[in-house]
């Protein structure tokens, strides 16, 4: 209690910080509110309000191109999630047992896609695939997504792995269990919350990606964000807001799911 009171005291010492924080939160959320709000606008001109309607949702949901783009997005995201979680689980287990140099190398490879500008990866992967004759499209996008989904899948799994009490392995080994049974019966079940959280994060990252998909789409691989981009380029109607709202909703549901699973983790 005294600690809570103590931190309460210090906040009074920077009173302007509270106001700035509220402004920053507004800055983060107001733009999204406008996207959602104008998706119900009966006017074709997005920002001139005419009346409330669900028509744009009906139009968007029955649009064949959008349905195809959504299916492409889901195919990419599902397969990329499964592949990245599989590889990330292996990496999480393997990293702990690597020698220092190997770990540093592996770690740089894992984190590189988060730091190096995405445009470089996008055109680099395009050049690589054209060079080794991997056809552009859904499969090409999936492979590229796995590379930058791995870090997002890995970190919750690794956090979970680190929290496992090592004496559990000793107990299992003392009772005569071997390597694989211990992994399958003990490590894997304990890792599950981390794996599920990692999978959800990898799924959103893949689903929301624009730039890499844009370069690797080819003629048949248009994903939902790539389609939305072309909509924005052609004509901005509340229809764009309606698809965007649906995509926002999917992201929000998934990230909330991941948050609830890992909630116990201290930030």
């Amino acid at each position: 209690m005294s600690r809570a009171r103590g931190t309460g005291e210090s906040l009074k010492n920077f009173p302007f910080f509270g106001v700035i924080s509220i402004i920053v939160f507004a800055f983060l959320y107001v733009p999204l509110v406008f996207v959602v709000g104008y998706s119900f606008n009966a006017n074709r001109v997005v920002t001139v309000w005419k009346g409330f309607t669900f028509d744009w949702y009906a139009e968007v949901l029955t649009n064949n191109d959008i349905q195809r783009a959504l299916m492409n997005s889901l195919r990419v995201a599902v397969v990329a999630t499964m592949m990245s979680v599989l590889l990330a689980t292996g990496l999480a287990v393997g990293l702990i047992r690597m020698v220092r140099a190997g770990r540093t190398f592996a770690w740089s490879l894992i984190m590189a896609p988060l730091i190096i500008p995405e445009i470089v990866f996008a055109i680099g992967t395009l050049a690589l695939f054209v060079q080794i004759r991997v056809p552009l499209g859904v499969e090409a996008i999936t492979l590229a997504h796995v590379a930058f989904c791995i870090p997002f899948a890995l970190l919750p799994i690794r956090a979970r792995l680190r929290s496992i009490d090592l004496s559990i392995y000793e107990a299992a080994a003392d009772l005569g269990a071997n390597e694989w049974p211990i992994f399958r019966r003990i490590t894997l079940p304990l890792l599950m919350p981390g794996i599920v959280a990692g999978a959800l994060l990898a799924f959103i990252i893949s689903l929301d990606d624009f730039l890499v998909s844009y370069f690797l789409a080819g003629p048949g691989g248009t994903t939902l964000p790539v389609y939305i981009f072309s909509m924005i380029r052609n004509a901005i109607t509340p229809g764009v807001n309606a698809v965007s709202t649906l995509l926002l909703l999917i992201s929000l549901l998934i990230v909330t799911g991941s948050y609830l699973i890992t909630r116990r983790r201290r930030y």
Partner: protein, 314 residues
């Protein structure tokens, strides 16, 4: 396995903990799809342009790098042309402004969240994280709605009769900058928060008790404590922002191209892959330089590493 046990604080080598072989498929995959693209870009930047523009011709040349500095007239005369250097410089400037604005906004909010009661903090951090997990395309599009001539800002200003004509905000460098700050803000708040959260704010109170002013406490006690977070945030904002494509494309309206837009054009309409690759190599060089600078600052300024802060957004 005895040696690993000796060098590491945690116990290793027990049955059930797996072996480094488990990481091998992942490492091979990442070598192919992370290292591979980077290597091919460097190779392509020294090759000739293909006839039809798609791909390259396997003839060694330094022409793409010459094109960075010189323009060639039809008669083959080379004159110094700073167009692309200017765009590179502008991109770095945009990224720097983005990082600094994010920093100024993030320090108050990070410290504010860190001084809330523990049960609030997780929820507030989650609120900061949500925008990061939503599509960047949609978050950029949102600013088209807000900044356009009959958007809410102009509508509000006209309604209050502060202006009679709408202010042109969309398709300006201002719009690009707002889009960039909006895109990268969570990447600055979260690492700084990760540092602030570990800071014992009773130390700040002790400083007050000893007669320090508010500004002194902030400058001498709190800011040094969050420095690892600031460095991690600068890395996570400045470098990725350098390659931003969407904000300048959708909000800058072609007037404020950044390097990513020029690179994309070389792989699209302009059909000059080697030159696009050379521009990407320049981006990689700036990335390396920035990482070296941050590493040096980091070593000087912080005792520990910044890894915890770098991972804070997960």
């Amino acid at each position: 396995m005895a040696s690993t046990t000796a060098t590491q604080p945690r116990k290793h080598g027990r049955a059930g903990q797996g072996s480094w072989w488990a990481g091998l498929p992942g490492i091979l995959f990442l070598i192919a799809l992370v290292l591979g693209p980077l290597i091919i870009i460097v190779i392509y930047s020294f090759l000739s342009r293909a006839k039809l523009g798609v791909g390259v011709k396997w003839i060694f040349t330094t022409q793409p790098y010459v094109e960075l500095f010189y323009s060639e007239s039809l008669s083959g005369e080379r004159t110094f042309d700073p167009t692309y250097l200017q765009i590179l410089f502008n991109s770095a400037l945009y990224s720097l402004v983005t990082a600094v604005v994010c920093l100024v906004l993030s320090i108050p909010i990070a410290i504010w969240i860190a001084t809330r009661p523990p049960q609030w903090r997780t929820a507030l951090v989650f609120l900061v994280t949500i925008p990061f997990w939503t599509s960047l395309l949609i978050r950029t599009y949102a600013w088209i709605i807000i900044l356009n001539d009959n958007g809410p800002i102009n509508a509000a200003l006209e309604w209050t009769r502060l202006i009679s004509e709408p202010i042109a905000m969309l398709y300006t460098p201002f719009a690009t900058s707002v889009g960039l700050v909006y895109a990268f803000l969570p990447f600055m708040i979260l690492p700084i928060y990760a540092s602030a959260e570990r800071f014992d704010f009773r130390l700040a109170e002790a400083a007050y008790d000893l007669g320090a002013t508010r500004l002194t406490v902030l400058r001498r006690i709190v800011l040094p404590a969050v420095r690892p977070g600031v460095i991690a945030g600068m890395i996570l904002v400045f470098i990725p922002a350098l390659g931003s494509y969407l904000a300048p494309e959708l909000l800058g309206g072609g007037k404020t191209s950044m390097i990513a837009n020029v690179i994309a054009a070389q792989f699209g309409a302009s059909r000059n892959w080697p030159f696009g690759a050379a521009l990407s190599v320049m981006v990689l060089v700036i990335t390396m330089l920035a990482l070296v600078v941050f590493a040096v600052v980091n070593r000087r300024a912080t005792k520990g590493g910044t890894r915890q802060e770098l991972e804070s957004f997960l």
